[in-house]
Symmetry: D2
Subunit: 358 residues, 4 copies
Amino acid sequence: MAANTFGNIFRVTTFGESHGPGIGLIIDGCPPGIDIDVSFIQQELDRRKPGQSKIVTQRKEDEFFVIQSGIFEGKSTGTPISIFIPNNDQKSKDYLHIAEIFRPSHADYTYQQKYGIRDYTGGGRSSARETVARVAAGAIAKLILKSIGIEIKAFVSQVGHIKMDLTKDIDYQHIETNIVRCPDELVAKEMIELIMDIKKEGDTIGGMITCHILGCPVGLGAPVFDKLHADLGKAMLSINAVKGFEYGSGFDCVRMRGSQHNDSFVNQDGNIFTKTNYSGGIQGGISNGMPINFNVAFKPVATIVQAQETIDINGKIALAEGKGRHDPCVVPRAVPIVEAMATLVLIDHWLLQKTVHF
Amino acid sequence: MAANTFGNIFRVTTFGESHGPGIGLIIDGCPPGIDIDVSFIQQELDRRKPGQSKIVTQRKEDEFFVIQSGIFEGKSTGTPISIFIPNNDQKSKDYLHIAEIFRPSHADYTYQQKYGIRDYTGGGRSSARETVARVAAGAIAKLILKSIGIEIKAFVSQVGHIKMDLTKDIDYQHIETNIVRCPDELVAKEMIELIMDIKKEGDTIGGMITCHILGCPVGLGAPVFDKLHADLGKAMLSINAVKGFEYGSGFDCVRMRGSQHNDSFVNQDGNIFTKTNYSGGIQGGISNGMPINFNVAFKPVATIVQAQETIDINGKIALAEGKGRHDPCVVPRAVPIVEAMATLVLIDHWLLQKTVHF
Amino acid sequence: MAANTFGNIFRVTTFGESHGPGIGLIIDGCPPGIDIDVSFIQQELDRRKPGQSKIVTQRKEDEFFVIQSGIFEGKSTGTPISIFIPNNDQKSKDYLHIAEIFRPSHADYTYQQKYGIRDYTGGGRSSARETVARVAAGAIAKLILKSIGIEIKAFVSQVGHIKMDLTKDIDYQHIETNIVRCPDELVAKEMIELIMDIKKEGDTIGGMITCHILGCPVGLGAPVFDKLHADLGKAMLSINAVKGFEYGSGFDCVRMRGSQHNDSFVNQDGNIFTKTNYSGGIQGGISNGMPINFNVAFKPVATIVQAQETIDINGKIALAEGKGRHDPCVVPRAVPIVEAMATLVLIDHWLLQKTVHF
Amino acid sequence: MAANTFGNIFRVTTFGESHGPGIGLIIDGCPPGIDIDVSFIQQELDRRKPGQSKIVTQRKEDEFFVIQSGIFEGKSTGTPISIFIPNNDQKSKDYLHIAEIFRPSHADYTYQQKYGIRDYTGGGRSSARETVARVAAGAIAKLILKSIGIEIKAFVSQVGHIKMDLTKDIDYQHIETNIVRCPDELVAKEMIELIMDIKKEGDTIGGMITCHILGCPVGLGAPVFDKLHADLGKAMLSINAVKGFEYGSGFDCVRMRGSQHNDSFVNQDGNIFTKTNYSGGIQGGISNGMPINFNVAFKPVATIVQAQETIDINGKIALAEGKGRHDPCVVPRAVPIVEAMATLVLIDHWLLQKTVHF
């Protein structure tokens, strides 16, 4: 129910299939009077778009978009903002070869079983193309968060076995200076090489995205079910190909002791912070003013050029073969998606807090 | 909003502070006609209760509960089921020493900042005692899932550096035969020893719980925001002390290749399954009929006997000291909580699917 | 779904049957720091309680209540407030004579058909006793609205054919000075006489409640589905025995012309108001600062002493006979219920508006 | 919150202003496999469209629509259905004369005060044009209800003082045979004459729509807040210009006695029904299998040709004058809107009941 809606106050509902007329969204609950910078929305869509570099899918999609409502003379009006992004590369015939096959580790089989019907000309709602709507919605939310000093910075921290050192200071300026979106330029180079090698082999590789949220005020999130990190976790796990989420100390906490893991409070001239940040900026589900940080694990893309044995819709053995034009590694293009989903969680909790303290 | 409610169709709302009269809950949306086995609810509460063994907190709490509505002649009536679990060990004076202190890695500080007011006689809603309501609600949901053949089996798979081998077959019969709830008896013994050592040192240690869901039908979950694993992830991350969630291949997927990670479909006499299960039983956010599996990382308990430097509510330096009677490791008692939250996610998606296929 | 929850930000969930242990409720989303005047809650419950005068049911129920959570040192904490009102007159045997009968114009038949199971010892959730929870929740909301200058005044404006003149100024001081709660003392006297006559005949009679909301700021409500009057209408129609709702000009508007019905704006020294108020204080679904007014029609109580032919659960002809102790007219006791439901709508829209203008 | 969304399982979210690019909607939760008859959607839109007869606005709007998602080879796929209806007559200059005026009994003033910003080139979301989205969504819901035997028949029962006799049998065949949509042809003629007279005077007149729901199964609706008639009431009151809602005996119940109002059950060869139907097909908030009937009061349209004194956005006295092309009476075109909203309530409760009895 409401399975295509995200958020409570700032509510985003998306629609559209990868091979239909386009993808769209409605934002209900955007505050009025916000300056809507259309070029910023475009810029965010461009960070996600296919064909942007040699390490991503070579499909060409110019992410053109139309705002259909909710904005008047450059400002939000408080009424639903609707955005439509037409599909411009919808060659359904490209998909005829997979129409009757259940591709390994795709949603073909589960989708067919759930609904009893399936638009086989593309991935339907399971296509990663759906995330373009999230990035558009996130761009508008980002404009609001920026104005109150909250910054969301995601970057690629690992590709296959190539991993950057997360204990060092991150230079956010360098995220967008390379095509893999890793702020450590040397590591970035290695990642790019690995992806190019994988691509040549007709294979794909997994990766990890790290996200930092800076300037988040104390008090966002709720103590029980709607913990801030629980909502961030759901947001990340709702992105295609994500297999894991951890924040603060994450899975490393399993081996740690309380005496080592606890973050002591310090008061420096009225400025309260913690000495360490194993809590990842969230304590008891509520932001504590420290930087929020989390990691998101992405699996290798399921579409590979190599032939794989599987079954067809009649249960007969069949061969699945990718026709190219797919991402060898999903993380470079997933960076803006991670940011968008984090933004949607933050704006929702920030607006909700207006009903607690007023 | 609805921050104390979980679920859409089978909705659980909880209330109560650790040091008030008690903890309670309402289930709205439980189908009518379900046989409510009261002794099973008690049994589930007992698996979570303090004082059950030498490796958990020695606080004594007999989890007595009252059903206040929704059940008639042993069966659910379709109306709200309300359960109240009185607090029987609410010595508020135990907490006076912490009333004015922001304990490290507790929710004291964030809670105070969020609400501007705080019941300092306990952890308020941030107390792990709140989870007793989840276990009670989960017990009722489990009765329904059992009747349709879905089984949820959680167990402790790691404590500190002691880790069981998850690639081997799990003997679920052995989960409840030892006090740490690890199905590998030899590993369990080591875990218990480690926890006893940690306890003697006045320290605490992290741990991991693994959960398997067996018999889940194909088709639960939705392709976009409400992916089955996204809802499971939120459910787990909403449990106190949880820092990470992964399903199927989890964080290991980062290093894997598509050719290795993809799960090929096989049709054995009309029985469709996958050769491997890196997907963890969920593809495109929808269950595929294979066992669902996930891991949950728990941090070491923040309350330790060792003194720690921190600040008080006036920003002055202060010492935090635990008064004992706290868990040295949270995972043995968290096993039924993980099961309860997984159950709530499953029942909700199962009921929702009734509105898709009918 | 959420069929026992009312509201979005200030969410009230109720539970309990008329003949179980009691009736209860959870308020989730009450802002922190509100002074909770317990005697005011009691006073509101007493306005609704049975046995308060000769014209209502002579059942004796002292509405004792327990606050189980959410309040600390007399103030709301921002966490769920739970209130439990035990049933003290639960003589289930009183109901044995109706256990197998579908009483005319009661919910017995529909309830049985909907759920396939029914607690026949009382009206289950369909009992008007459920409204005690609404009054308790409304009392807390009223404390908040009072502090911001919003007053909600309901009163009985008609009983049978006895009708007060609503075009005259209402003296709200006189609502509680007579047992029928009609502010026109002369009309009140006639209403009381009529009800006493009806009671002697073993019959019941319908009535109307009018509600005025004073001091409502401009801007509450939304332009499309959640129009302020649409939410007020749903709130009123959710009260037992209500058959109709109208606001402003109401059903009289059908015969009116635009030139007559339109409310012209006037600016008197910066104070904007309308000359007439056919809009009933709401234009385009949003409050305009004028007094909000609406009428609610209540049917005659279905339980009558006179014997009525009906059928039993086996479809056989049967006789339904009321055993007395029921209200001859529901409106005197429904006044606080109308106020409570109006209050819940107002507080919710008021809190929601905090997320629009901040 | 969710102020532009209606429904819980079958959720409709609408967007668009009267003078922007168009009006649109998303249906989330439409079951898969439904045959989508596009010509039926068109037919429903045509029943609502301007310019259809001499008694409605003479604005010409061909209601062209595009389905953007959710349908594959003529069937619903279970994913969001999005429909866009472009505005083809968006002469914003027509509205320049009202840009700075708060028209009497319009939403101009409240809208401006709520949001602090207003698209003055039309009525924004308060425009009746928004209802085109409701009719489109309702058309799809109607296709489902038809297939299970539920029929929804609305018609004009009163215009000004001209009223049809509702105690007589209604011949639904005649609703669409006259331009006012009143099934009594003689009364219809009088209504049409009255509307033509009113139009000549540059004035407008109120009216009433009656709606009958036939074939509704027993058991839809819930006993507490989400009573079937409460949801119908909210749905109707959310339609522009509606001032009142009553069902069954409605406001007449105020004068009635219980002995007269109670509907006795009868069992005729296993077919259970009630002798009378003052309950209007709903008892205790749940449908009882009898025809559901309700009345909806519509005020006279606020836009009139006659000049009216009011104020402008600077608080100065100003004159409001309609420029023609508005409806002299709203009810003929509101018939399909009433049906659409009733349909949305019914489909939602029908789908929800799938989670109760399965």
